[in-house]
Symmetry: C2
């Protein structure tokens, strides 16, 4: 096999109470990457379609940085060229760079005869995240690679895994076309928090994980609360509180920020509720002259996959 084409899903990180720890993968929305083995040892990005402003320089592009980390760990010299089709804009809060990193290391691993498991690919994809945002996040690359609902238990040593989730669970993504820089979203967070708020937060983490294992939608909904990050970051998203109240009034289990925003997501087990949230929250933003990309997705259990 000299060429492989893969799909790496977009992802929602943080998931309310689980800042830097929880994430899940989306269905049908993500990056496609075609990787071809080269005779030399060069890494070459031939084209990136679907988004602009992404560097083609292999020294700074997240896909090539991630593959280089993989090759270095493997101790082999190999060359690849690639085309990337993105349907997640950078700066969406849906793990755009993570999808490219995940796709790249997954494809390279396929062409090299699968020396690594999916979980073992995570640290290489994190090198791409580090190139994109100066910090080696794992909370988007983990769900993009593994699929499903994922936990980053620890960064040092790295300990990541997927957990079960109820099959009927659906996410509604609301992506207003405004810019929130990840670096700004990081900067405005307080470095010190109240212990009492932290207790509230890990009570909700315990509840959310339990709700996912138990397929208890009501418990999932009660646990989708974030008393630490959302109150600060939501200031960067226009009309956040009104959009959230609208989604909750329409029956969302919960509604909060995806990653560092501006995308937001609702969870629900009801198709009709999902449609109502998608349509009415989108209409709400358009009534405020803010364009919106919105879609409904089940939780993607497969993660990154080879596609025809």
């Amino acid at each position: 096999m000299d060429t492989v084409k893969v799909f790496a899903p977009a992802t929602v990180a943080n998931v309310g109470c689980g800042y830097d720890v929880l994430g899940f993968a989306l269905e049908g929305y993500g990056d496609e990457l075609t990787l071809t083995r080269r005779a030399d040892d060069q890494l070459v990005i031939k084209a990136i379609t679907g988004a602009s402003g992404i560097p083609l320089d292999p020294a700074t592009n997240v896909a090539t940085v991630s593959i280089r980390a993989l090759l270095q760990e493997l101790g082999v010299s190999a060359g690849f060229e690639m085309t990337i089709h993105k349907n997640i804009s950078p700066g969406s809060g849906l793990g755009s760079s993570a999808s490219s990193s995940a796709a790249a290391v997954f494809a390279a691993n396929e062409l090299l005869g699968r020396p690594f498991t999916r979980q073992q690919l995570v640290p290489f994809a994190m090198k791409g995240e580090e190139a994109a945002s100066a910090k080696p996040h794992a909370d988007n690359v983990t769900p993009s690679l593994l699929g499903g609902f994922t936990i980053v238990r620890s960064y040092d040593p790295l300990d990541v895994f997927a957990i079960p989730f109820p099959s009927g669970l659906q996410a509604v993504i609301i992506f207003p076309q405004v810019e929130v820089k990840t670096s700004d979203a990081k900067k405005i967070l307080k470095k010190q928090i109240n212990l009492s708020d932290a207790v509230t937060q890990w009570g909700n983490v315990a509840g959310l994980i339990s709700g996912l294992f138990l397929s208890d939608f009501d418990l999932i909904g009660r646990s989708l609360q974030d008393v630490i990050i959302e109150p600060v970051r939501s200031i960067l998203i226009p009309s956040y509180d009104e959009a959230k109240q609208l989604a909750l009034a329409l029956g969302a289990l919960g509604y909060t920020i995806s990653g560092s925003g501006p995308s937001m997501f609702a969870l629900t087990q009801h198709a009709s509720v999902a449609v109502a949230i998608r349509d009415q929250v989108s209409a709400f933003y358009r009534s405020r002259d803010i364009e919106v990309i919105s879609f409904i997705s089940s939780i993607n259990a497969n993660g990154t996959v080879v596609i025809p």
Copy 2:
């Protein structure tokens, strides 16, 4: 039925990473309470055996305070007299007052024809905790009433429930005979913590809950880490670090403080490891001239029960 005798188990609260949220119930160690209906509407404590210094005054004893809260909610006037046999000392860190409160409300509920579920009894028992420590904790009364591993997801509104745990899991309790006042153990905690430490903590909460659901002992062990409370409170427990290192060297999945101490607990799935920890950590403390009560317990799945 005019008389009922109940057993309410001792409990381990916090469980490492889950300060104020997680807890589990112990087997064979707890309070026995015999409750008898009276013709008048008085609450009377006839005797407390097994521990000294506990008030018999129904206005301050946690058992009578809890029953009074139950009667008030029910809107009935009823009188009871009781004898309590404690085999958990107050100040152990094993939920001594919580066991009395749990036993009292469970017994009263039985004699009144079970108007409340176990979960509904938790707020009444919390009134006893409030009488004992000025704060209505739920993290000991919940496992004592419900049994098993429990989560206090939220205090307002109160949201408590039990989750599955692997049947082979055993706790080793090490209770050095030194005094740690709960009020001191509360006071020395910092009210502000680093966000980065909080993230580490809720990563471990997510890992521990997942490990319990998945019966993944290794994951339970990796997640039994507390970077916020243990580093501060362990200072109040003599030779804590050495005892912990000894238990871990003997194969404990984890070893940390029970509640606010001075009791400590190890978890393991191996009977031989449990015996080694119990014997060698006890011997270690005795070699330092500190007397120790120690025992091995499986996780008590039943909570408070009627006994013959």
